[in-house]
Symmetry: C2
Subunit: 348 residues, 2 copies
Amino acid sequence: MPTTIKDIAKAANVSRGTVDRALNDRGGVNPDVAARIKTLAAEMGYKPNTIAKALATRSNPIRIGVILNSLGNPFFDKVIEGINSAYDSLSDFGIIMEIRKMRGYDQEQQLYELEQLLKRGIDGLVITPIATKKVRDALNDMVKTGIQIVCCNLDIDDVAYQAYVGCDYFCSGQTAGGIIGMTTHGESNLGIITSSHALYFHEMRVKGCESVLSQFPNVHITDYIEAGDDEELSYNGVKTMLLENNNIDSLYFVTGGTTGGLRAIHDLHMEDRLRVFTFDQIPAVIDDLQSGLVIATIDQQPFTQGATSVRTLFESIMSKQMPTRKKIFTELNIKNRYNINTDSINTK
Amino acid sequence: MPTTIKDIAKAANVSRGTVDRALNDRGGVNPDVAARIKTLAAEMGYKPNTIAKALATRSNPIRIGVILNSLGNPFFDKVIEGINSAYDSLSDFGIIMEIRKMRGYDQEQQLYELEQLLKRGIDGLVITPIATKKVRDALNDMVKTGIQIVCCNLDIDDVAYQAYVGCDYFCSGQTAGGIIGMTTHGESNLGIITSSHALYFHEMRVKGCESVLSQFPNVHITDYIEAGDDEELSYNGVKTMLLENNNIDSLYFVTGGTTGGLRAIHDLHMEDRLRVFTFDQIPAVIDDLQSGLVIATIDQQPFTQGATSVRTLFESIMSKQMPTRKKIFTELNIKNRYNINTDSINTK
DNA sequence: ATGAAAGCGCTAACAT
DNA sequence: ATGTTAGCGCTTTCAT
């Protein structure tokens, strides 16, 4: 039988209330007594029982806010599924969650959503932060008021958050580089489509890929465009790229814009000439994995990212402790047409 | 506020005890009243609060037995980590778990372990079942006495278990076939090392791979040995295979024996001649992914298999309901040297 | 500063 | 067959 607060109370010759106050630093307890209780608890190997605590605090439940720049980005569908799944499984603990969705990387929009959540009152926040000074400051202000933050999918420097949950972007680029090098047998003229050099994490995917491709002297990066995560820009950009460089035989889509770019290839009927490498398992990618146009896509476990963000935040609030690791990296997985997710777990 | 048993009691004009008895079919309640309570509960959207239930039943906790044929098989290290992780996170719910480890596929050994667990008394069982008639019968007998079963990593037909948690073996073979075909550019003389044709699931990996490779007319299966999951047999078999077939340029290790086989390659100094494809992320594979000998390995999420088995069993016992899906497939993931797991979640 | 007691939602033992 | 009550481990309010 594990040690309970009652056992400690008896051992310390005080009431359960006092033990609770001491152990949780609620104040109003003689420092000497508090110290005695704490050492006693440690000696007896006390571990608070989370579910009992959750039951007891059910009347003022933990409130979690979520802000995702998910609108118009099919990648986030799975992240949201993961968030909802974790929420479901935590509902017995009495938690309240509100998701707010926004489009793209507009900091003003994100600041607005933050304000709305603050108004309602929250204990914790899951966010895909936009890495600007204003957002950084706003987040740090929240932390000062006691709100705990977990970053999901996007990281941000110099914010006192609890954890970042997402992939290692440089590593994801390396993984892509590895599969590009191997499947082209080290002979290729590659076109790269990225969002913007300004987006640090997407740039990491390019750098990671290049660092590996440098080992393949006959893989040449022939062209390189920025499509700003916009499907139309990507569509037109890819069209131009392919028409202007008729030696390009493979394409590397770093992020958003993949759907538009694939459409361009189909409209040009250039499927047979090209090998395409992408990220994530969005619908357009799955279709073209089946058709054989996309050779491989790198998955970053979006479902797990969502679920783990919520769970990590919850545990962090409940236990009043930092998570054991600050950077919680999800796996990077190469998917071909045979192992794309149909009905495995971590997915649904 | 969610509906509680108290709300239903009030609405039905009975006591909470009666509601509890009715909803849990504990008997000793007027059928009409029971029916009324049940429909009322459904109407009011009642969902039992798991954590309250767990607290209340803490005095006779759920006992879970685990039987794994993990001895001498490094693959299972991660499965066990997953099992222990799930156990930790469920310990507040008051569960007791006992793991029994055995070696290989000996049915008598497995029957013995089953008997030991039965003696101690268990409510649920996680097992890597050996698919023989005796084991099948023993498991079905247990189910009849009310013990719930979850199969982990290995499936078995005609057992009334709650769920199978593991990979789709045929699909894992297809995935391997895809990566072999792509990275060899469809030109290869392939040697296959499997455990035994008699082991259905390993055979599926061969069939799945062959089904895909048939699309690559210039990939030839040159040799094919059975190494019975034994490292020494594999070591010698691979040596012979490579010496007798000096046109073999790639190897496909279906399962156990990978460590021994890789050692044979090194001892023959044939690293440069070969491309190797394996399953799982056991230490020897990780080393040779780094060295470049292993091109890719197919991961099946062993940590998740362990954790999900325990969680599924626990939820199934607590809720007295079948899991939503009977076959819970873990993801199959292609790993190259850049995305093998170092410190991502799902792993540790 | 400390103790006592009620209560979170549910189960189980005991009454009726 | 049904009601009542104590209790699981913890928090919180109200006394002292």
